[in-house]
């Protein structure tokens, strides 16, 4: 079970790619999803239909397919290569928007509608109702689900290796083909991922215990 220090360094460096993908994709995806969530509740039919169609189509597709779509459509549409990393990043954002939209929508709709009417009748403007009454409560309620979905998205970043991004799963494959010790490398990357995600899911456990 001896490991060369440079093998471990190589694995950790590649793991940074997974972390980077998640760190870049998640804030964008959540921000856009917040807009889409309002789209899903909009009374303006075109907006409602667009957001609903988007969410339903993307949630029916495997992430690998979205990655492939981006990987070969982007050069055709943009007229130049965007690279594997950027394709994976954009695919991840496009894919996770659909899931975050539903979480945010459910969070907003979990606040009793009476609160909205009460706030409106007290003379608040609609945007004040949203930012001062509904959202502060809704965000607290949706935090556990948002964090859980973020951890899932972080796990999903390993699929970027399918379109050629050198992430932790690709690193394990490279090291294995060089040294031929699958039991060591594939177990090691699984343990690294487990330790990270388990620590992150500690945040979820803490959020769930906290009174809302």
């Amino acid at each position: 079970m001896q490991l060369a220090p440079n093998s471990v360094a190589f694995i950790l460096q590649s793991f940074a790619v997974n972390i980077l993908l998640a760190v870049l994709a998640l804030p964008i995806a959540i921000a856009v999803a917040a807009l889409f969530a309002y789209g899903r509740m909009s009374r303006f039919k075109p907006v409602y239909y667009f957001a609903t169609l988007y969410v339903n189509v993307l949630r029916s597709m495997p992430l690998i397919m979205v990655m492939f779509w981006l990987y070969f459509l982007a050069p055709i549409l943009l007229g130049r290569e965007v690279g594997a990393f950027n394709s994976a990043l954009i695919a991840l954002v496009i894919f996770e928007i659909a899931y975050f939209t539903e979480i945010i929508r459910a969070g907003i709709q979990s606040i009793p509608v009476g609160q909205k009417y009460a706030a409106l009748s007290s003379g608040m403007r609609p945007w004040q109702v949203a930012t001062r009454v509904i959202l502060p409560q809704a965000i607290r309620r949706m935090l556990p689900s948002l964090t859980t979905q973020s951890i899932i998205a972080f796990q999903d970043t390993t699929l970027a290796s399918v379109i050629g991004v050198l992430d932790i799963s690709a690193a394990a494959t490279i090291l294995n083909s060089r040294e031929g010790r699958p039991a060591v490398f594939y177990t090691l990357v699984a343990v690294i991922y487990f330790a990270t995600c388990y620590a992150l899911s500690g945040i979820v456990r803490w959020l769930e215990k906290r009174p809302t």
């Binding site: 029916s60 597709m61 397919m65 492939f68 070969f72 709709q109 290796s161 394990a172 699958p182 039991a183």
Partner: protein, 238 residues
Amino acid sequence: MHYAFDWSVLWREPYGSLIVDGFKMTLYLSLTGWVGALVFGTLVGFGRTVRSLPIRALCTAYVEVLRNVPLLLQLFFWYFAFPVMLPRDIRVHLYSFGWEVSSAIVALALYTSSRVAEHIRSGIRSVEGGIRLAALSTGLTRFQTNRQVLAPLVFRLITPSLTSEFLTIFKSSSVAMTIGVAETTFVSQLIGNATFRFIEASTEATVIYLAIAWFVATLAGLFELKLRVPGFIQREAN
């Protein structure tokens, strides 16, 4: 954008029959994996509510490990790492049976079972208390209480969560392409590589996944209506 479509790659031989076989493989992986996930998920989900601390700890560890490692890495573990940990004879036997497909099913079943177990556990938590005590006080044993009182109720309560896991397993089965299992996604990229018709081939795979999702969602809607437990709050209808 100048692109001349050629949809004939979707039915021209040998691609037409490859697509059909890929679709069958997606169904086979998902349905077999689902059976395993339900069996293990139910056992582990109920295992987390028993009194024995070792069993509870074991079931908790099972769920945490399988939930916190990406499916792709789990698949790589079962496909590449697991066989070399076994004695040579067994390994040869595994490979002669086509370990690609079997390891994909094992990975899918175990990964999904950890999620099923979580749904079962939260289902039990939502009805527990009065019902369990009432059943025990009528003289039923703990096992009978679980089997005859809690299980039927819990399964009906968590039907919406289970159907959405069922939908997910079809999408998850696409990771099997990474170890060379010729399921829908694999076949679409194979055709793309062979003909350079990536858009047509990926459209085909996408349409298959959308059709599966639509079909399962429609069935699930009927199912959920039938299994609804009156008096309990269910997932709101969309």
